[in-house]
Amino acid sequence: MTRIGKLEAVGFRGILRSEPLEFGRACQSMVVYGENARGKSSFVDAIECYFLDRIGHLERESVGRAAYRHRAHPKDLAAWVRLEFSERDKGGTLEIDATRRLTYCGDSPEAEAFKNLANRELLILRHRDLSRFVDMTKREKLSDLAPLLGTEVLDETRGELSAALRQVEGDLDFQQQRIRERQESIAARIGRPDYSDADMWGFVNQEAAVLGAPEPIGQPKEMKVFLEKVSITPDPQRGQRLRALEDAKRELEELGRLPNVVGTAREFANAFNQLALDQQAIQEIALAGVREAGLGVLRSEWWTQNVCPLCDEPLRDRPSLVSMLEARLLDAAEVRQRARELEAQRESARNTLRQSGDALEQALAAVGEVAECAPVNREGGQVLGALRRLNEALRTPLEPGARVAESEIGFAEQQLESLHSARSTSGDALSAAIARMQPGEEERRRLNSYTALSGIAEDMERLEGLGSEYSASDARVRSLRNALEEFERREREAVSAVVEQLSDDVTRYYQKLYGGERYSNVRLEFLPEERGLEFSLEAYGEDISPPRLILSESQLNGLGLCLFLAAAKHFNTDAGFVVLDDVVNSFDADHRTQLAELLVEEFEDFQVIAFTHDPVWFDILRQMAPAWEFQRIVGWSYEQGVQLELPPREERERIERHIDKGEADVAGNLAGDYIENRLKYVCLRLRVPLPYRSWYDNEKRGIGELLRFLVHHVQSQKHFQLRDPHIWNKLNASGLIRNLTSHDQPELPAPPSGADVAYALEKVEGLMQQFSCQKCGKWVWYARLTSDEFEFQCHCGQMQFR
């Protein structure tokens, strides 16, 4: 895994001039200390911007990219952030020009590939985000972790499988309804309130006996064969005519069962026309397809060209484009769902139309030769034409302002009404024709039996078709349901397993932070029924969930931190570092040491880059992890930006450069810190006794106090002589030092001159030289003479301090 080797920025956020953070040859972990408003977060912003091409907390506050550049940075120069890594070819530079355009330039092709992999991982945790996850709902928690768990693809697949299952179940319900209608029709024909096979076959055989059936009928096929052969009258021609009239009547009856074409078409047209009026929604739907395709290309490994696959323009900012496309697709999710439902409705309306058309064509073919059915034939032809026109209208593509013409639905409705009327006329004509033939008593009885049996045979034939359709649909529904169940089982097992592993780490980390307190077994659990995640813990012998019921704000923040660290450790495969921005701020003093220990012990194989304004935590980590790098931010100003602490010689050179440039006020500020640090160093080495102060107040000793006790301590040594006995007076003569040590400084002290600063530096250097042996060149604190007194001497022994 890759670690950061060097972070450097110029003109970026609060960093005006180059103040690189160097992580050493081994790319060590680092703690950066700086008081508030000294520019710590500028370094974190630089890392975030380098990887993600944006700074999330600024985006959330609607702050534009103008804020990415330091205002004092020359407008004609690009601001930049450069990162180098443990693998040299992965380094790169991100530039922000005056037009706020971001341009990334990797040192090699591997650099950009690494950047694109790492930006999907957990890199940065800021103080303000600590409890964000803990406060989310269960569903939000799962969807927040979804990109890491990769469950988005599972959510999508489950959604599509479920929707498909609902649709085929709908088909099944429709078929079941049609079967019920046919059974009710048979029940009506045999004069029973409900359908039963036994009743039906009893009736069939009773009527077949009237027609002279030689043996009992038990199968639909047998009945069909019998009806084809049976004669109603002794005169075959007359019999044939009677049968034709009776068959035509039955076909007209079937026409009355046509599905509700107009209703389904109108339902679809209303939904369609309403959506088509929403121009923005249609554009979103249309663009979603393009965006989805573009996103697929950008995410693919094979798209290595530096041009946008959507517009062929040079691709300057690939991750931003990917984020933008993802956000737009998310925004369009609801309207796309509406569009999908609309397409399903369209499909259903067109299916109904097709079924009606087929049934009508079949009926017209059957009654075509019967003169009494001429009105039905005429109107039926018109209806077929109207249905074809309606079918075309239902195919209208979804575009802004498009409409499914109501007139076509109205026309089809009108034609169907005419057909209905013609059906009635033809039905009457058929009945009249049968009556005109004046069948005798026996003939009428036989005709009634034939009519009843033909109707049942027709219903049974349809039932048979519907039954096999239903069986096939039922098999598909069961298959799809089993597939979905299997899918959900696998999903549940896989997500539970990962969450459990994550949870084990969270439990261990939390135990390290808050071990020994009342709460135990802090866990993160996957709740498949609720499609969510939630924390739980044990306290006072009870399971508690959510933890907010019982944990303090600080403990909740701790939980958020544990989850971030566990998730980073679990999911980061390329980035071997995590950046923590002031997270210790949220912890009470009692748990800072535990946090330091957690980071040192559990993240040995990670590079931890922690920014803090807590000096105690900084010191704790310095004691606990001597191999880590430690850096202080000593100043920030608009003119200079962030200033890191440097070794004394380099710091003095930096101050001198400011003096040479005429920046005396900047030099004065830096010199104040420099002089204080030098005096602290001498006091520490000479073991100057100072009055005790509690906690970090020990660190907050000004130049005046340090100097006063140093003078007293040096003067109390009987065997030590200053080479320059006037050094104290010379120091006190410095206007800058006088200003820094004065108790009654004016509110707005006059800025020091360059000469003042140079004089103070020279005298402080002179003071340091008082403790260096001229003969051996070693400091007087080179060797300690006794174990319990503050007595020292140099290497050669010529200079003694006692």
């Binding site: 693809v153 697949t157 499988l161 479920s162 397409e343 096999s468 598909r476 089993n482 679990h570």
Partner: protein, 67 residues
């Protein structure tokens, strides 16, 4: 501890073993696998493919009956 996110792996393994899952018809499994392979696993496409498969079956049945 595996570092691979479970989502894509679960989907891939599910599709691979779909034909052997008890109670899943081979035709349905094939439809889902083919749509997944083409990146078109959408409800409307699944339903359309299943209806088409049904029509195909019915056509074959009709042809057989006629024969």
């Amino acid at each position: 501890m595996p570092k691979e996110p479970p989502g894509p792996r679960v989907l891939r393994e599910f599709m691979e073993c779909l034909s052997t899952v008890e109670g899943v018809d081979e035709g349905v499994a094939t439809v889902l696998q083919e749509l997944h392979a083409r990146g078109e696993l959408k409800a409307s496409a699944i339903v359309a493919a299943l209806r088409k498969a049904r029509e195909g079956t019915e056509q074959t049945r009709d042809e057989n009956r006629e024969a």
